[in-house]
Symmetry: C2
Subunit: 380 residues, 2 copies
């Protein structure tokens, strides 16, 4: 009986499981434009994309970062000119993607767009059943404020996104530490609050008493000197450090109730922004006492000479740095150089936090990095 | 000699003018993604669009509102698979448009996208050499704050965009009147600050002393009752009035330094939002004393019965309404009904402001409407 029972009962069970899988037509992704039925996320995180392109010869879905897979997915046309494809299971998190329609790279009209890859790009949010630290919950919410300000360095009116914590407008005697937080290459000042959900991450941590209420300043990492000739098609970033030091930090300290000493000012970033955090942070230790490096510790770093020698002497570095935080996912192409940086720091006796863990070069990792980093930040 | 001189000199002058016109390859539109060379705006406001679609058979630029023209513009392919078209001169202002590539409706990767037509849609900003009231200038800037809040009416966490005037964070004893400002059909809470430039319009007017510093609340006009079954593909708005009255106004008055009496609360909107402003404003005169109607006075209005009879008696209406403002462009398909509403109000002796003037159903008109309306608003 023992042997037979599963054999006889397994068939109907299997049949139920198979029809459940077939009947699972999924749910619209949270990143869909309101009311759009596709893309749909299935229980096993396969994704079904569907678009209408009646006269096209060839339509593909092309992932633009890890997590949704790598190869282009060929869509199949039905008689009405609607094209559909279901991908293998995706990783949870945020994924850029595009369509290629007869050689034209374009967005999926069903999805919200996000600034990445140097343009507005379709995005897909795949919920993680095990993680909700970055979701909008019923906790007190801070604001993300869109602030325009004139820059002498660039000679333009620029835009910063500024997160203020939930009690900012009610606790008027309170002053707050400030984290400057930078996006990656091809992204802009909107990235951390949309793709990265920085505001919700902080709201949730602050509600749980796990992070100190702080201001987060998100600016665009591209900045060229006033009067310089723009490179056609290019976006320079050579004036970013000067922008931060000469225009951005003074503007923020003038307009917001900041704690304006170096102990209460940090800079962090992801990928290109990680390099900028190292350069601008370690290059201006009179202004910054903490630095966060998310998936972007540069190659060929020499502790003796890099960053104006800020790390040349361990005792000096340890006395000046409250927190040097370095993270990188193990599947990231920059993992080896990040780990090498971590090991060089360890070897030199420079105090820092190293955060490895699974993940590649994408936003789900950076959400986790921010979540870890800010819990250690500004804690005496 | 007198007759001869212009004849001989006109030829080289004409030749110079012609070659200048030919040599005028224009400038990138301000709505381009940073670094993109196309679309380009020529001196005479012709627009040149260019995209790469090597394998496509047919690529068109399709205007999605007036101002850029109506017919689709067929793009011409060159040997490398790049498609180009130059349109006739456009109207200044903001224009939605899309591409159609072999039957696939998609965005132009060169342009920023804006939420319109129920999805992210390409936008083109054509500067007006004669108007700068909506430009970012070197004046004190207010903030546009992204605020998330829970709604009991919809059972969701919703997002409002809230403009606070330049002195809001420095003039802490000051309280401000509040304008609730609604977008049109297919748009969302971002529309007024991006397409509409509401923040810059107010910044400039406040700097010039021409508008009273005020808070502007921009929410999404789509709202469905908690627990209601969503229409597939649809976006209901039947709970919008309840949302404003029961959730939004109390949240705003709780979180911001508002003047919370009806004299200092107004509601306005464009197109669908104009109808909502009339319904919600006139339907709740205990909350609102001013209403702005931009290009959307409904058809078949009966002053005696519409809006719960709020306009049935002129003396009562005049005693309760501080400002009833109605505007519509003469080329708008809703001009006749707007003018009829204005004439009915005049006939009934109900005090109001009527603003005609050129323009169709598009954002350049609504920028002008906001600019006129707020100069009259909250002035005792």
């Amino acid at each position: 009986m023992h042997g037979k029972f599963p054999r006889f009962s397994a068939l109907p069970l299997l049949s139920v499981l198979i029809s459940a899988a077939l009947a699972d037509d999924g749910r619209p992704a949270p990143s869909n434009v309101a009311g759009r039925e596709f893309p749909r996320i299935h229980d096993d995180l396969r994704i079904t994309f569907r678009v209408k392109a009646p006269d096209a010869q060839n339509v593909q879905v092309v992932p633009r970062n890890d997590g949704l897979g790598h190869a282009p997915f060929d869509m199949q046309r039905d008689a009405s000119g609607t094209w559909t494809v279901t991908t293998p299971p995706a990783q949870p998190g945020f994924h850029y993607y595009e369509l290629i329609v007869d050689g034209m790279h374009c967005n999926d009209p069903n999805s919200e767009t996000y600034f990445g890859w140097g343009q507005e790009t379709s995005g897909l949010e795949v919920p993680d059943a095990k993680l909700d630290f970055y979701d909008a919950k019923d906790v007190p919410h801070g604001e993300v404020r869109i602030r325009w300000y004139p820059s002498n360095v660039t000679g333009t009116i620029r835009r910063a996104y500024v997160y203020t914590p939930p009690d900012y407008d009610s606790n008027l005697k309170q002053r707050y530490p400030v984290l400057y937080l930078q996006h990656g290459a091809g992204e802009n000042e909107r990235g951390w609050s949309t793709q990265g959900r920085a505001g919700f991450i902080l709201d949730n941590l602050i509600a749980a008493g796990k992070a100190r209420p702080m201001i987060i300043v998100m600016e665009c990492g591209y900045a060229t000197q006033a009067g310089s000739v723009p490179t056609p098609g290019g976006r320079g970033n050579e004036a970013f450090g000067a922008l931060v030091v000469r225009d951005l930090v003074p503007m923020i300290d003038a307009h917001y109730r900041t704690l304006s000493d170096r102990q209460h000012r940090a800079i962090a970033g992801l990928s290109m922004g990680a390099g900028q955090a190292l350069q601008v942070g370690l290059g201006n230790l009179d202004l910054f006492a903490s630095v966060g490096v998310f998936s972007g510790a540069g190659r060929n770093l020499d502790l003796k000479t890099s960053f104006g020698g800020a790390l040349a002497d361990a005792a000096t570095a340890n006395s000046r740095l409250n927190l040097l935080w370095i993270g990188c996912g193990t599947e990231d192409r920059l993992f080896a150089s990040s780990q090498a940086f971590h090991e060089a720091l360890t070897g030199a006796g420079i105090r820092h936090v190293w955060f490895g863990g699974p993940g590649s070069h994408e936003w789900q990792v950076w959400r986790k990095h921010l979540h870890e980093f800010v819990q250690l930040l500004f804690n005496p």
